[in-house]
Amino acid sequence: MDLELNSQDLAFQQEVRAFIDSAWPAQARGRKTTPTGGYAGKRPAEEQHWFDALVARKWSVPDWPLEHGGTDWTPTQKYIWDRETAAAGCPAMSAFGVRMLAPVLYTWASDEIREQHLPSIRDGSVQWCQGYSEPGSGSDLASLQTKAVLDGDHYIVNGTKTWTSGAHIADWMFCLVRTDFNTQRRQQGISFILIDMKSPGVEVHPIYLLGEQHTVNSVSLVDVRVPVENLVGEQDKGWTYAKGLLTHERTGIAGVARSQIALRQLRDLAAATEQNGGVLAEDRSFVEKIDAVEVELMALEITELRTLATVEKGGAPGPESSILKLKGTEISQRIAELKVEALGYYSMPYPDELSLDNEGPIGPEESLPALQAMLWGRASTIFGGSTEIQKNIVAKAVLGL
């Protein structure tokens, strides 16, 4: 047993660091990046420079298979990439196209669909949003009611999608719709289709969440005509495709590197915050809360590496992988919460953008971002399978209950 990277991986790590140094200038690091990242036309220049460099180096979609423009990196190399880019605060490609749709396309879609969509996802020129959740179908996704009826060579789609991140700037939406209402199991009769957001009948309404500017929406679909060639795979089999996606286990889901950075920022904040003539970092009871979360994070890092080591050897991730999201989100929420605690009274001001632009921050510069991150961070245990749903899954799949 050891925790060392081998010489090949160390060399790869150097290569990645050199690339980051050239493509993501140091002055941009540490700056808050657009959380949903990588929307065309909305990026600051240094972010655009980064994405261009990624595409030029053919490193924009490292998780994809080589034949579709990905890489042949080993799981450890992918892990190193995730860690290094997170540690440098590099903006990430929007996950919807790259991580959520593309694996469905290169696994199940026709050649025509692949050729039409994969290149523009790879270079980030076309943005996608995910049409899964509905007002009545959150954790219980299979209850979805959005209806698609075949009419000649088109589906006529009617329904409402919600919590749709980035719908207001997306070009396309991948969508789960019900094509058969008379099935024995609710998971049957669901189809996976691709909808052009410019289609008549698609309407996007903003939903404002805690701590964020506008990112999520509800999308109403009224008599939207979708060409049948936009069906992915077979009709009524969409659930299988969407579910298959969930088995694309990613170690990055634990967010260890991001939490390590946040933890360092928290310690810096405590060291810079005055209290009783000294600083907060001298307050044992506060520091012990930081130390306690650091221990949890150390354990999670090793849990992640254990998963990685198994995958590296060609095995399926072991049961320990199921706790990566559960613990990772718990830890990042805890760190975010402690940052707000460190801010004291300056965790309260919530100035609008205009006031910030004209008069600058109120209190420490990091106060508003920390507060927003804490508020927004509450979503992490809700989306992507809530903590409670994750525990149901572990109870069933791992413990056999």
């Binding site: 047993m1 044992r284 650091e294 354990a299 254990r306 706790i323």
Partner: protein, 376 residues
């Protein structure tokens, strides 16, 4: 980066697991506890024959390897069986002190006996007032010619009643809580002036209050350098924490798995109670705490094998902090989910809980180690 075991390590794990499986069911364990020595002498011979008593020592010292990972593998299995044989106090602690502080002659004379099972040891480091501070030593050792005269009271000394040698930390200079000025001595357990009050501990082991009154110890039985014994004590305790950490991880695995099995069969309200979501989520939490503890145990073992120093010490303290949360939660939840049965002396669950509770205290609780973690 590698979390796999070597072939030899796999063999060791299999052989200990087989022993627990075949020769150490819960009933047998309870019988072993009630022996007058507090353990089964036949098992001790078996351990010696199988080479297990030499696991923590290098080949140079007559052992079988000496890696922390080896010790971890063995102790995790012992944890699953709630083994009461005094491997921890005799081999890990007394043997560990000889390993860390002993000169060639002392190792020659005593370590061989520890490894072949003919010598039983104990490690007397704590005192009634010391709590977890290893430097808080009032037991005195005063040089008199070629020997030292020891006086003091050592608290909760595991396995003292069976020990041939008791390794004692004593103050040879400095103030009560100074790290400098502590020396470590090998004391003949039958020496004049050594008296004990023996008792069982809550987890079925044996310990003693050991009082030293004008005990004369030859200068040749000083272990390591005069006044510099603290380093020996600290290393022994850190290695012992890894051992009980592994034991705890083994015990936690048994607890969460047994609890899952129990909840699948126990029926209330017309269905297995494992169907109730509130219990399912609690069991998922137990599973997660076990896995997280296992991860940090691996880290601590790896760090110890990289070399003893602040990085290893910090990892060991992190392990103890993690256990403070995880072992407590898993132990308490296992009792809770077994309901009234979990409360009985008859069922094994409560005995695992008691052992875990002792482990939480042993060598410093989570509060103590959280502070140490912060300092390191």
């Amino acid at each position: 980066m590698d979390f796999s075991f070597t072939d030899e390590q796999n063999l060791l794990q299999e052989s200990v697991a087989r022993f627990i499986q075949n020769d150490y069911d819960f009933e047998t364990r309870q019988k072993n506890c009630s022996e007058s020595a507090g353990f089964n002498a036949g098992n001790w011979s078996t351990f010696a024959e199988l080479g297990w008593l030499g696991v923590p020592f290098s080949e140079e010292d007559g052992g079988f390897g000496g890696s922390a990972v080896d010790t971890m593998i063995l102790m995790e299995q012992f944890g699953k069986g709630l083994v009461v044989e005094p491997f921890l106090p005799s081999v890990i602690m007394a043997g560990g002190a000889l390993k860390a502080g002993g000169n060639a002659e002392q190792k020659e004379k005593l370590l061989g006996g520890i490894i072949d099972g003919s010598v039983q040891g104990a490690f007397a480091y704590a005192e009634p007032q010391s709590r977890y501070n290893l430097a808080d030593v009032t037991t005195s050792a005063v040089a008199e010619g070629d020997s030292f005269k020891l006086n003091g009271h050592k608290a909760v000394v595991l396995n003292a009643q069976n020990a041939d040698i008791i390794i004692v930390s004593a103050r040879t200079s400095g103030a009560q809580r100074d790290e400098a000025g502590i020396s470590v001595f090998v004391v003949d357990a039958n020496a004049l002036g050594v008296s004990r009050r023996d008792y069982p501990t809550v987890d079925g082991l044996r310990a003693s209050e050991v009082v030293l009154e004008n005990v004369s110890v030859p200068g040749s039985d000083l272990l390591g350098t005069l006044d510099e014994g603290f380093a020996v004590v600290e290393q022994v305790i850190d290695e012992a924490i890894l051992a009980i950490g592994a034991e705890a991880v083994g015990a936690m695995e048994v607890l969460y798995k047994n609890t899952v099995e129990y909840c699948k069969t126990r029926e209330q309200f017309g269905q297995p109670i494992g169907k109730f979501q509130v219990l399912q989520h609690r069991m998922v939490d137990m599973f997660m705490e076990h896995e997280q503890s296992k991860s940090i145990l691996f880290m601590a073992a790896i760090r110890l094998d990289e070399g003893y120093g602040p990085v290893a010490q910090k990892a060991v303290s992190a392990l103890k902090v993690q256990l403070g949360k995880s072992a407590r939660f898993v132990g308490q939840s296992a009792v809770q989910l077994h309901g009234g049965m979990g409360m009985t002396e008859e069922l094994n669950i409560g005995h695992y809980f008691k052992r875990l509770t002792s482990i939480l205290t042993l060598f410093g609780n989570a509060d103590f180690h959280l502070k140490r973690f912060g300092r390191l």
